[in-house]
Symmetry: C2
Subunit: 193 residues, 2 copies
Amino acid sequence: MVSVRADARRNRDRIVEVARGLFRAKGYDAVSMDEVAKAAEVGTGTLYRHFPTKEELYDAVLEAWADRVNGAVDRALSLDAPARERLLAWLRDFAGMLTEHKGAAARITAALGDASSPFAAKCQTYLGANERIIEGLASAVRPGVEAMQISRLVGGAAAVADSSDLSPDALASMLEIVADGLLVPEGANLADR
Amino acid sequence: MVSVRADARRNRDRIVEVARGLFRAKGYDAVSMDEVAKAAEVGTGTLYRHFPTKEELYDAVLEAWADRVNGAVDRALSLDAPARERLLAWLRDFAGMLTEHKGAAARITAALGDASSPFAAKCQTYLGANERIIEGLASAVRPGVEAMQISRLVGGAAAVADSSDLSPDALASMLEIVADGLLVPEGANLADR
DNA sequence: AAATATACGGAGAGTGTCTCCGTTTTGCAA
DNA sequence: TTGCAAAACGGAGACACTCTCCGTATATTT
């Protein structure tokens, strides 16, 4: 009983590789499954046996993301800079990863609360990353701020930037506003709130 | 010159009315044009002559919005409350209108920079409203904040809340973060309270 | 080499948006 | 009132998607 036939593995790998290229070039929505099948030189039936939905295919395309996400958190937290800069470094990376493939930010962000989504594992990674950020920045973060809120706010901003083809600068300026909303104001007395 | 035939006007009005009911009940994406045509008892050809795209139909469904938007601005600005409360009152109304029909927030927000969108006029209304808010709250708003940024941030948050079926409270808590990011931190400027 | 489990591939079902064009209705004019 | 263009109607169907079914081909085992 050999678990996986050799041709199956070969096809699967080629599909993922080809799909990654297409998604990167054209964005999620603009790539059809027929197109992926044709480019990978398999029948649509084969494609759909390996990946029952387009989202599951996309999930397979994003493989090393957990590492990349956690790496970005490490990098941001280890910066020798004020909390605002460290937070912004992370938010920019976070948003950057979400907008890496056109059309993906909205999808991934929408899956944040959905445990049955193919992206559920990725979402957990994001939530965990934002939890680490909250902990890492400690008292610089306003009390009551939750990882889910950060994920949703940044995901929402990234989705808008993505769908409107905003420049990285325009997105960054939105992230600055979010960052200011997340952090305790400098020099202000928090007890008032 | 009787520009419009009576049957045409009757059909158009009935289509808009029926479509509004369907969009409200099921959300933008879940309503098909065939469904609208059937419910309005016209052929699809008739539907499409009146509204060449689904978005144009949706635009016709949102008719009195300019007034509603400006009314919400007036109401918020005339509140006898701190700047943060007045801003939040507006943001909640703004987000509430965007999430009125499921699936609409993302579409409308994505159109913010697109002059050729059917929603362009609505977007201008929103931008103008946010400009009025910035002016109305005067020095309580952080310098450099633009109406477009507010529109996009709130639109993004509303789109996420919409696609994830968040509770109004969850959305409100996100808006509070945005509000804190938009306003000069308390203690730095008490004049406007 | 035969047998069997596994994978392949592509036609086509189902569902959308939107178009084309023959038919019907309407409003004006004689 | 009746006739006649112009305007509007309606629905079949083109086209694009995602995804399914199932007969055929291939890999692995014995």
